[in-house]
Symmetry: C2
Subunit: 301 residues, 2 copies
């Protein structure tokens, strides 16, 4: 395969073709703004991501809510960027009914912003246990009820919800949904008709270890529930449970193999880079980080 | 229920009965020596654990191998302690065939010591990815082959093997087997006749988050594959991925509910405390730690 899609094959191609093809592939790649450590404002980040040649961006609520959503939406559109996801839901579980309702209301407000941004999905990090609770089943039920309620609004507002199962090391404090299969089960349960408004975001950092990974990706694909695909890498050793994600290629995840499963499952959306890296990449210049992301995405993802 | 098994009911019972009953329950509880931080030699630890009223102990290989296994075995027997598990296997996966064979050989040697100690099981922490490898499926296959090979020796030597699935945050460096169900599948695959020599060790620290937990415990119980049950607690927040386990009751795990599932599944073995806690319990006096373990075990586990 000399002119195929393998990045190694491309090395043998003429330089001009090489550059054009790389640029073309970057158009299907997106940058989650957390990757740059949120050190600059969203205007600057939009410009950087577009200038680096990426086709998509995934902004966070605190960035958007700090300014005017309409203006950001226009700016993103003007830079020909797709919003691959809007990050992220307010956690659902809470100790009181009142708080739970407030969380749902906050998510409804965010859905309106997601619609204005024309986001492909609203990313749902569902939350951990309420304070002083050991009731994991109860927290999961609160999430189920919360998403069920939110789904009606999502349909009306026109923004798909993407549940992102998080690594089990966050089950207590960030997400009582830990696996793709568990999240799919939730989708099937509360969205029996598969409305197109409830699916999942697959982030390989959270699920690379799962013995059911290949099977779960296949199921999710068959059911057309894969709404987003996030990449980074798992470093060995990992120094911090939250802020030590690796650049693609620097860790132990077989990104090529997972990418292949994702494609075989029928996913045609963008691949989004989401790296939390306090001590490494958040200290580097954004231009350098974006440039390396571009290189690694094309080599591995 | 005034005289039942609830520890709260016991509070209302006469003091003498109370003490006797507590002592009786402690006899079905075991201390993994890691809980005391390995600060003293095994002789001292055996004496402490017995004096505190526990019925079992789970020593580590580096402790036993530092002395004379026969002498330790006699001492443990003389103190009326059951060895609930011998910790732990040499990791199986490696980059070369030679290293893999060396790992199996090391495990065979350990099995002989486990037999001499009359251990209820040899605890199998199976290992992570070999150096510079991203081949998770390959590592799992190496584990499968390694255990399959070791099982023949285990039958001859007379020591059951207990696979301990570890939390997914250790999938890269300590165990490519992360869930009970995945480990059970391995047991079914290589020990079809259910010989009584291949099962699992359930450690709640590793599996409390699992959406399949109740179902997996039931399956494991039905298949009579639960060879050990370890407790500690998951702290929120958790400061360190390895050495910040909590004392039972200090975290977010619903130990009572899980204990109830384990019992319903037919498990009749001891409950073993295994707490790695560099900054908290390993700094306390062993007598105090054992005393608190006794209290919490009787309240919660």
């Amino acid at each position: 395969m000399l002119w195929g899609t393998s990045p190694f094959a491309l090395i043998r191609a003429p330089a001009g073709f090489f550059m054009e093809t790389l640029k073309g592939r970057l158009k299907s790649c997106s940058i989650n703004t957390a990757t740059l450590g949120h050190r600059e404002n969203l205007d600057k980040t939009i410009e950087r991501v577009a200038r680096a040649g990426f086709g998509g961006i995934a902004p966070w609520r605190h960035e958007v809510e700090a300014g005017d959503v309409g203006r950001y939406a226009r700016k993103i559109r003007d830079h020909n960027l797709t919003v691959t996801g809007y990050c992220r839901s307010t956690y659902f579980p809470a100790s009181t009914l009142q708080e739970r309702q407030a969380n749902i209301d906050a998510n409804i407000r965010a859905l309106h912003d997601a619609a204005e941004l024309n986001a492909k999905c609203f990313v749902m990090v569902v939350g951990g246990l309420p304070e002083d609770s050991r009731d994991l089943a109860g927290a999961r039920e609160q999430v189920t009820n919360g998403i069920s309620h939110l789904l009606e609004h999502a349909k009306l507002i026109g923004v798909p919800l993407a549940i992102e199962p998080l690594h089990p090391m966050y089950a207590a404090n960030r997400s009582v949904f830990s696996t793709i299969e568990q999240s799919l089960e939730l989708c099937r349960h509360i969205d029996k008709e598969n409305s197109g408004f409830l699916g999942i975001a697959i982030d390989i950092y959270h699920c690379w270890w799962d013995p059911m990974l290949d099977l779960s990706i296949s199921s999710a694909g068959k059911e057309k529930r894969i709404y987003a695909y996030h990449v980074s890498d798992w470093l060995e050793p990992t120094q911090d449970m939250l802020l030590d994600r690796g650049m693609m290629g620097d860790g132990i995840v077989d990104l090529r193999a997972i990418r292949s499963h994702i494609e075989q499952a029928g996913y045609e959306g963008m691949v989004e880079v989401e790296i939390f890296s306090r001590d490494k990449w958040w200290k580097e210049h954004p231009t350098d980080v974006l440039s390396l992301c571009a290189e690694r995405l094309q080599m591995l993802c």
